[in-house]
Symmetry: D2
Subunit: 342 residues, 4 copies
């Protein structure tokens, strides 16, 4: 950590801050610059109270040096992690695709969707049973009934099931039916929930909060990893910016960044990441080219009548041609999209 002193900081203030740094168990190097003095604090700066140093007398700024996360970091584990759930795989050169409707609506809808996305090349089925909805007046999901239909669709197709869990109390219930527990963007910093899925034996798909920094995102993963669950997939689903022609802004540079910092696989959600069905195919292909380890895509038999998210949902045909494009681009990048026996 670097403690930057004000230009007019006194000797006494510098001395005081040097002692404060030492009292936190860090070693202090005082460097007299031509205009300012800085104190380099050496040691594990992830200690409690370090940031409060900024309130010290004569302090201009405190700049951290070390990444705040550990288990997620590439420094701890340098080879990329590949997650495997049934026939679904993601990471270390293999691209896994999850697809399906935003919400489970009924048996016919979810089973036909499962068959269609399997045929096109997906290896996991997404579908919401517990739906976090911005408005209390919107469709809130079929709840356990929806989970049962997802399990039924798995029986019929062999696809792994990915579905969202919204609260720590429901982790056991959802884990009973699902193969992958999804943490939604709105819950990325719901720490009780992160701890609960960290104690589960299911893989976790952790979505980035719409305004979370990547460090906050990795620290959320750290909460899960820290409880002993190593099977975490990081999902970029778009951030909130000033742009109005997309619902969120999908920053694909997150892929090379995370690949540099962490061993965990990086999944891209081009449906929420753009909010418009017509953009999803191009952005899916771009995500694969950028090095993503997986995609999660909303697909519905008739998007126009979907109970939720229809505006960003592909039809079966659109999904099939998108998958064909992704497979060609993956091959051109010396990667493969994982498949299952049809």
């Amino acid at each position: 950590m670097i403690v930057v002193m004000e230009q007019n900081a006194t000797e006494e203030q510098i001395q005081h801050m040097t002692e404060r740094v030492q009292s936190l168990g860090l070693k202090a190097h005082v460097i007299q610059g031509t205009e300012r003095t800085v104190i380099a604090a050496v040691g594990d700066e992830r200690v409690t109270k370090a940031s409060s140093l900024e309130s010290g007398p004569g302090v201009a700024e405190v700049m951290p040096i070390l990444a705040p996360y550990k288990v997620a970091s590439k420094e701890l584990k340098s080879e990329p992690t590949r997650i495997k759930v049934l026939d679904y795989q993601a990471g270390a050169g293999v691209v896994g695709v999850m697809a399906g409707p935003c919400s489970v609506e009924n048996e016919e809808q979810i089973v036909s969707s499962a068959k269609a996305v399997k045929k096109a090349g997906a290896t996991a089925l997404r579908g919401g049973a517990f739906k976090p909805r911005t408005s209390p007046y919107s469709f809130q999901g079929m709840k356990e009934e929806g989970l049962k239909l997802l399990a039924l669709a798995r029986e019929e197709t062999g696809l792994a099931v990915v579905t969202e869990v919204m609260t720590s109390e429901e982790v056991d219930l959802v884990a009973k039916y699902a193969d992958v527990l999804q943490i939604g963007a709105r819950n990325m910093q719901n720490y009780r929930l992160l701890e609960a899925v960290g104690k589960s034996d299911r893989a976790v798909l952790l979505k980035r909060g719409a305004s979370a920094t990547v460090d906050e995102f990795l620290l959320a993963a750290e909460y899960v990893l820290n409880e002993g669950n190593p099977n975490v997939m990081l999902c970029e689903r778009g951030i909130r910016t000033f742009e109005g022609h997309t619902r969120f802004t999908l920053p694909l540079a997150t892929v090379p960044y995370l690949h540099k910092k962490t061993h965990l696989p990086v999944i891209i959600d081009p449906s929420h990441g753009t909010g418009h069905a017509y953009m999803v195919p191009d952005m899916s292909v771009a995500a694969v080219a950028a090095g993503a380890d997986g995609l999660i895509i909303e697909v519905h038999p008739t998007p126009e009548t979907a109970a939720s998210d229809g505006y960003q949902t592909l039809s079966f045909d659109q999904f099939e041609s998108t998958m064909a494009r992704c497979q060609k681009v993956a091959a051109a990048c010396d990667k493969e999209v994982c498949t299952m026996p049809q």
Copy 2:
């Protein structure tokens, strides 16, 4: 709702969408423009599936007209709501100030803080017992022990106690000790938690998520109100923007906006809203001048050694002079800062 068709939409597509609008129970007015056709859909557009119309054939865009919330709206209740908890009041011309440390650390710290903020003019004591922390390695709070110390501080001073509850399972526990349940910014869209505090008889301080739109903020309040709890205070605590010289950007225009749209009181948090102690006094005064119904301010005996948030925390002296300035400006604006018998 206005359904804007593409410039080259066919008659058949317009007819199809007209029927889709009608099938949602809305009345359709087709307006042929010189360049485009639009379909005005009249009725309660808060129905399920309305947004999925955007996936219809030939549709360029769907624009909502009505506010998505109801109970929170000024159209339902035009006079401003005043919240009263012990001697604390906020709303309808009265400004209530909550102050205290970020985290409860020990008895001496919280009791001395309570006495100091009461002396300076606050009527409620803030203090965190369950702390949502970005990093699993940071101080997580004293938990129930902290709640007990808050209750003790209330006994000694008469101040109302405001503290955060992080999960639905802990609502009863926290409500046993606290007068006001705080929902943190990270949990603004934790719908299970919103429903749980909606069933409580405690007042609720709902913080705006760092990237929540004001409509999303009001819909979060709607979740609470909808469960029967009318005592909701809306707290603006800053939004995430590109600015780096403040930790968040504090948009005071939220105050006149919310006053136009809702009857609920609006509280400003200049501590989180700026992230720097030296900015807190000026922004507190500015918030009062902008018409805020209350402030929540971090105060600690020695900010430099605070277990959390020290960089944005005022000392007792700084808080006292800030309160004096706020009182003068409130008077100049024909408002008063609520007080209690000393």
Copy 3:
């Protein structure tokens, strides 16, 4: 345009606004909703003063329907435009690559860069002679001397020359040496400059401002097109968001959006769009996959000693392998990267 009235708007106010709409030469359709009245204003809403309607009595909001630009729109010209300058081409299925150093520094540097980028597959040479620098204390470019060196490099390689022009007074001077006039992001709304390059016979590379909406971007292009210059390339170079791990956020969804709205080619700048050399290869490939019509990439013999932008600049080797990857992905997407006789 849709004029949305307040819920409690009076008959008189509705009548007044209906007349105001008509006084602007638009036809007014009044639609009585269940909760609100809206006035649909039919006609060319790009008239002066339309937006000021929002200040009318009882008006809640004014929502435009039509795109504010015309000549740039796909509605005017539905086939994509291909720009050709010497051997450089971009648009309608052909991807053109511009590459070279941020600043022209000396003859050896620019000529060796030109040869290297040509060998790797670029067809245009970028290099700054007039440099817009955030700080007055930074290197401001070699000015006309730099332009002469660019022309010399063109003589030696046949590459088209792309360079920035910063002010309307210098358009003639820069056009004397350059094949493509670049308008920098900071000048995207420098309307005098846009008008001046609109009168030039050189092609224009227009960079998006870091916080410009896409409509503002297309309106800036409209200023150029409107003066009679049809050869405009739109360059997405990243937007300013809260993200700190990249210098700007590169939103590749701009590509499908612009391809839907305009016939002009879309160029991606992954160097400024990320601000980190290590991200440039992945994002270059992703841009091609997303459908970009061209790339502009910073390349320098020794990035570490570059006079500007070294942190986001590729070495010759890095550029060569990036080009090889782009060519493979372009082929997988049934597109080609344009080439020139070596």
Copy 4:
């Protein structure tokens, strides 16, 4: 400057970077941390090429320590600067108000506006003659004819005249009629224009770009100051964020930040900063309470028919009551709003 090395950086890389730092004329202190090595580079880091160090081998990050601007800094001049132009004053405890229409439209409009704003307490008249408009199809201003009408209004009232200059070529023309040259937000980084007004003897009102950092803002001021013109006022007019209920987000914390960093006066523009007339009064008062040295407010005889910006423009009555509120709050803050003989 702090050069942070990668965790696995080699001794050779550290040695190389140490030499690179020294080759820039800086002194290098190498500090071996427990996890990483950092090199503290002591000296004037505003040298060319410093940022390109990030491309060096084994470098993780380069963090600047010193502010990049000099003349604007409080370190150079610690007392606040007060700008005086005719009877207008701003800075060092005095609040100056500029008001008037967005565009000059005709003699009657500008003269009546001048008289009304003077009566209410403004000491300067704003009005646009050269208008930078997002669309080439919008009203572009009356140009020199507008300047003449502004000068006429000054003759009739004694108010100082503030108006925008859009290009370096027009500085002399505008300066012939205006007392204060306004640089618009879109031109904040139009360096040729900054240099040109830096050579003028008129005071300059420099607006912050909608996505400019405060450091970029101060560096833009530095371009003007550097040419010898000391009379620069910094105008915060709102930044672009994700918020849609205001046209821009007005961050009043800019006021205490700039007061800490620079001696130049800080002016707030609540009209552009909110984009809605109904928010302007509350935000004007809040700006004064936050410590602003001045306000610039759009006022028009009939906002609803204004040629531009009507939606954010006050009527004469609204402005008068806003001024009365500002004066009371200024008094409560021990400041005064500057006035002129009526």
